[in-house]
Amino acid sequence: MSAFVTLDGVDHAYAGAGSALAVEELSIAVEQGEFAAVVGPSGCGKSTLMKLATGLQFPRRGTVTVAGQKVTAPVKIAGMAFQAPTLLPWRTTLENLLLPLEIVEPHRSEMRRRKVEFAARARNLLTSVGLRDQGEKFPWELSGGMQQRTSLCRALIHEPQLLMLDEPFGALDAFTREELWCVIRDLQAARKITVILVTHDLREAVFLADRVFVMSSRPGRIVVERKIDLPRPRDLEVTFTPAFTDIVHELRGHIVKARQ
């Protein structure tokens, strides 16, 4: 069985960047239902990896496959969340959640008919991340952590098979961040979706992921692949065990090397 998301020998450079490659010979394979984390020094092309895997950019060389199909257009089965929550300030939280359903088929054509059902789905999702009864508020009436939860919900509302997270907790304070780790851990466990998390926080990567990939500095390449065999479900307490710290320490060593 081939992997759910595969990048094979991928080179990519952005238009206007000349021949300076963002990633080079990048190969990665993520299994269905797996939680993968990609870490690396800043500017190593982590975000490029996200764009390639979702079909927002196409590689100069090599192939990208998602769900058994070569990626030639935006994949549509992915949900994305970024460091900035990017909610629309003129829509309530609930309406923000419904946005993907207004875009993606088949929900799009059913929007009018199933509006009540969709709204109920959105409310359930909000409840599951601890935002019960916050749907009528506008994003700017919510705290940063609550906005980021909303952004996660928006990435999940159309029940994607693939969730792409680009440093989604980077702008939050340490306590809120750990809270959200647990939120995403539970969401993934409940829905069995494939997650690719791009981050520079090693503790976050080790706590959440089944496998951690370390990228080299630009042009980015996977230099280390580390399986995290800490038992699940993981509790926040696990982050204070020696086994956990050892893995973080080991990965840190790889990153230091990758920066050189």
Partner: protein, 257 residues
Amino acid sequence: MNRTALLIRLSPWLFTIGLFVVWEAAVYIFKIPVFFLPPPTAIAQAFVDYSGPLARNSWITLQTTLIGFALAVGFGLLLGLVVGWSRAIYAGLYPLMIGFNAIPKVALVPILVLWFGIGFVPAVLTAFLISFFPIVVNVATGLATIEPELEDVLKALGASKLDIMRKVGIPRTLPYFFGSLKVAITLAFVGSVISESVASNYGIGNLMLQAQAQFQVPLIFAGLVVLAIEGIAMYAAMAILERRMTGWAQRSGFAQA
């Protein structure tokens, strides 16, 4: 209502009345002749004496301005959307628009007269030409500043460019658009009055020109006051419209402080 709030409410009236009082006093104290600078009381008298022509002509100017403004809104919005839609069109049209905007519109009036004769049409067109630019620039800016992450979120769902425009681009452009209307409406008055004073037999601009020829200085100033009042009224209308339509964008206490 506490005293500070009351003071803020009254302050526009106090300042306006204060200006006229100082003006009246200055004319009186320095014995300035009426044909040089008429005192507000003389201007008020001109309002009474010429109420008919003032009302008629100010109505014409208002109509001219609003028609020109409406054209500018329609055309400006359309062009702004087109320019914001494609970077190539943006790059191509931008220098042309800046060049066009740099031309003093009074210089265009003779050409407009050549094409359409003197009167209503050149005035409407001058109002239109002078006021569409800020609308185009603002609409295009609103579209050009869509957050790339948000664009990615939607594109990854298979959103077309039109989807992104409809769901994100246009709503987020509205505050820019309504903000630009306040600038555009005042410019439209400038345009119609310029054209009226150069090439028309109607309107406040023409009335002021005739008053000048007959040395009726208080009437000239009455014309100015009418323009100021119309300008304030239209600006206020646009400001109210802006607040109605884009309340979500005006939540900051900054401007109210």
